[in-house]
Structure formats: C-alpha cells, structure tokens
C-alpha cells in the first residue's frame, strides 16, 4: 500500500465520519459492548446524558481510521486518547458527524508522531489524542 511520507509540521487532510444509531447497534454487536446508554434513550436520559451517545471506543476507532488513511493500515505503533465529551447521536437519518484532523508533531528515525483533533459540532470530544506511526518503507 502506497502512503505519502510524513514531514514535521505537516497538516493532514481532515476526515469526516457520520455516525447514526444503526452504526452504534452494529458496533455494539461487533465489539461486545452492549451498555444500554449506546442504544436506549430511556437509559441514557436516566443516567443524566442528553440522550444516546456513541461508544467512546467507536469514536476512537473512527479516529484510528484517519490515522490508517494517513499512514497505512499496519503502520500504527502507539495510539492513545482521553475521552472528554460524549458524542450524542440523535435518532434520525442524519445522526451526527465527527471530524478528525491531524498534524505531524515530529518525525524521528522513521517514526512520526501525529497529534489528532477530534470534534463533534465544533467541540473537542477527545484530548491528548496521539498516534506514533512507522513511515512507509522505513524500519519495516
């Protein structure tokens, strides 16, 4: 798979991912996380949430797709995030959207560190989101 070489300071093209309720049901099944706050409005509201929210790990997985798109599927060496805000997903056809952008903080010995910014409705939903990736064709 051919991927571009990353350079320090480079801004990486943002990726937008739409999330609807059926995505959450599918993710629940695939991941085994059946916490009802991700599919039951009644339960979500009862525990003080604005409504059904996306699994944090689903948001992290989507941001991981952006990293794979920038660097290659098998290039990720380290990937971490802090979950800071829930991602509410309305019960309609549009659902919601998250936007994942990235900036290359540094490149050293063929390994690039990418700082990620992940927002929903203009608000950051992850903090300290970082990935270290191996540059294509180097260090393999």
């Amino acid at each position: 798979m051919s991927v571009p070489v990353l350079t320090a300071g480079q801004e990486l093209a943002p990726h937008t991912y739409r999330i609807t309720r059926d995505d959450l049901i599918r993710y629940a099944g695939a991941s085994g996380d059946f916490n009802p706050i991700h599919w039951s409005e009644r339960t979500a509201v009862k525990v003080g949430l604005p409504g059904v929210i996306a699994h944090g790990m689903f948001t992290m997985a989507l941001a991981g797709r952006a990293v794979s798109a920038w660097a290659g599927a098998a290039a990720v060496l380290d990937y971490g995030v802090r979950f800071t805000k829930p991602v509410p997903v309305p019960d309609d056809d549009e659902g919601t959207e998250i936007v994942v952008s990235g900036k290359v903080r540094e490149v050293s010995d063929g390994i690039a560190q990418i700082d990620l910014t992940v927002t929903c409705n203009g608000e950051k939903v992850l903090a300290q989101a970082r990935a270290r990736v191996r540059q294509a064709g180097l260090g393999d």
């Binding site: 099944g29 695939a30 790990m57 997985a61």
Partner: protein
C-alpha cells in the same frame, strides 16, 4: 474508599486464550467502516507480510475488556460498575493482531486511587500469544464517579 495505591502492582492470573477469528476481524472492520483490504482479504494481508487478515488498531480492546473483568470483579476494589466511565485508552503495538492468533491477557493495576470522592483505576493488559510472543499492551483508565 476501596481504590487505593496499595493495589498498584497487583497482577491477575492469565486469561483464557482468545482465538482471533477471520470473520470476527472482518465484522469489526465493517462495523467501524474500515475498508483497507488487509482487514478483510487474506491475500492482501499475505502480500503485506502477514499470515492472515490483520485487525484494526482498536480491535485489541474487544479482547482486553473481557479480560479486565477479573480486575473489576476483584472484591477488594469494591467497584460499582454502574458508576464507571471510560477515561483514557492507549495501545502500544509490537505488531498488529492477525486472524489465527491465540491470545492471552495478563492484567496489572498501574494506578489505583480515590480523590475528591471519585475513584481512578488504570490497568495495563499485556496481550501475548500462547507461545509467549508479545503482541500489544493496552492501558485503560476508568473513573468511578462518586455519589452525589
């Protein structure tokens, strides 16, 4: 309060081995919309140097979250699971998980404390093959929200 630094370093017995299935990897990749061919096509994965399809970066959590039950169910920690919120998540990979891997998890408590009524628990789960080859280490920080 039950989450205290005295538990840091507590290590739990290895989990029952988890056999990574090709269809499970495909199902997970489809659920997150990841369409790289290495996740679904064994020939593409082999061309990239793997034995079988590889799993997306957050797939290990599917395995470690089950293994972590041994920590959450530890009676000494007195964790009320209904009050648990996922705080931080991190993966450090030796290599991607491949279909056919038979994986064992060992969970260690790296942080345990109570502050301002909230509990904080960070576990590290080392994931290795049954042959002892390290694959990925997974850190999960949970916050147990205090009452009121």
């Amino acid at each position: 309060m039950a989450l205290q630094p005295v538990y840091v370093g507590r290590t739990y017995p290895p989990s029952r081995p988890y056999l990574v299935g090709r269809e499970k990897v495909r199902e997970f990749a489809a659920a997150i919309g990841a369409d790289e061919t290495e996740y679904s096509d064994p020939a593409a994965a082999r061309a990239a140097g793997y034995r079988d399809v590889i799993a997306p970066p957050t797939f290990p959590f599917v395995i470690t979250t089950m293994a972590n039950d041994v920590v959450l169910d530890d009676p000494d920690l007195e964790i009320d699971y209904t009050r648990v919120v996922h705080g931080d998540q991190r993966f450090a990979y030796t290599r991607p998980i491949e279909a056919g891997d038979e994986l064992v998890c060992v969970c260690v408590i790296e942080e345990a404390m109570t502050r301002a009524g909230h509990g904080f628990l960070t576990t590290r789960t080392d994931v290795a093959t049954t042959a002892g080859e390290p694959v990925v280490s997974v850190w999960t920080k949970l916050v147990v929200r205090g009452e009121g």
